[in-house]
Amino acid sequence: MSVAFQHRQSAHCESGVTANLLTHHGLPLSEAMAFGIGSGLFFAYLPFIRLNGLPLTTFRSAPGRIFRRATARLGVAVTSVSFADPARGMAELDRLVAAGIPVGAQTGVYWLPYFPPALRFHFNAHNLVVYGREAGGYLISDPVIDHPVICPAADLERARFAKGPLAPRGKLYRIARMPETADLAPAIRESLRDVCRVMTRVPVPLIGVRGIRLLARSLESWPSRLGPRRATHYLGQVIRMQEEIGTGGGGFRFIFAAFLQEAASVLGDPRYLELSTCMTAIGDRWREFAAAGARLCKGRPEGGAGYADLAGILRDCAERESGLYQDIDRVVLDVRR
């Protein structure tokens, strides 16, 4: 049994799931718009959380936030449950699927058999939609894969109950009720203000623009503190979080720039196009950071680019982002006046 669910591949899993679920329930939405009104753009350097023994750098908000905030801002009612007991978690999934409801699920990627082997790490913030069940397993719309896939029940159970940092605990979420009308404009403004607040005004040095500067500072100390080899591992991890599948390139900065373009047409305000251009340039700068960092990892820094130069690029990113968020704030508030 299954419901007719339109699979759309997207760059990032959670915004893809959010857009696909909302579209299924009658509110056609692009991935970039879902990412934007979910305030997906973020930065945090969290050295005390370890992924494969390396400090966590993240360019997006915590798992579940994009879905929660995007739906809340559109007035969509959602339900979300997690489970201590895998058997109950699978029974609930079966119940929902049998009722013809497409369900979002948070999973790890390590146990998903259809995932490209090169990307199967213990990473637990993945999202997908389960929309049916057949003899061979569950019908899954995984936004980073170009076609719907079938996943055996045992593997899906393991993936939903993966352990470690950000353990999904079998989390299932779905849309309970749609509003009669959904207005994008106020949702866009609210989300933009939220991003600006988190990126520039949260009084925690690990988060937002301050987090980027902190990363720049720590990165400079890696070679002397950790030794050259370990330092490249730390650096490689940052590059992976920024560029590996699911970011749309440039640590989500390009998805956000696409969102700003859409915002310009929804709000009828060309100033957002300028902001988008600015964000694209920042994304390009992040790409330069990744390219230079990867050369360093490979042990052949062309033109002698070292950790200090990388830190310089990061500081430039921080500087430009800081200015951009102030500009966004100004544009949004101007409209409100």
Binding site: H233, Q261, T277
Partner: protein
């Protein structure tokens, strides 16, 4: 990033194409298929080399009688003692103890079964590690 600049450095994804956001001729964002990007490939490869090094180190310590085969299966599955402890429902110190040859050989059949189930192995397979470094 411009549409024509979207890199196509295939390495990791096999047949799969990921989606990237890039600007088309008119400056509008479009979704573009991307086969991969060299810097991301380098970082990914580095992560796998580090996993392979962990496996090789575990195998050599097993040969020298300092670690039990459990250490090999853990390394091969990219697991630390605390992560594996989460899967088998034990404490990390118990898993670390089972990584030593003597406590490993004294382990109960039930405990062996729990470890074997996590790795998708039989108890017999759990009790051996390959003689040479197998490339994963």
């Amino acid at each position: 990033m411009r549409e024509k600049d979207v890199p196509q450095d295939a390495a990791l994804l096999g047949e799969l194409r990921e989606l990237c956001y890039a600007l088309d001729e008119s400056g509008a964002y479009v979704l573009v298929e991307c086969a991969g990007w060299e810097p991301a490939n380098i970082a990914n490869l580095q992560a796998w080399e580090s996993i392979e090094a962990d496996v090789a180190r575990a195998l050599s310590e097993i040969r020298q009688g300092r670690l039990s085969p459990l250490a090999y299966h853990m390394a091969r599955n990219q697991m630390s003692a605390s992560l594996l402890a989460g899967y088998v429902g034990l404490y990390a110190w118990q898993v670390r103890r089972h990584m030593k040859p003597a406590p490993f050989s004294r382990m109960s059949a039930a405990a062996m079964q729990r470890y074997a189930a996590v790795f998708g192995l039989s108890i017999a397979q759990l009790a051996v590690a390959p003689a040479e470094t197998a490339r994963t």
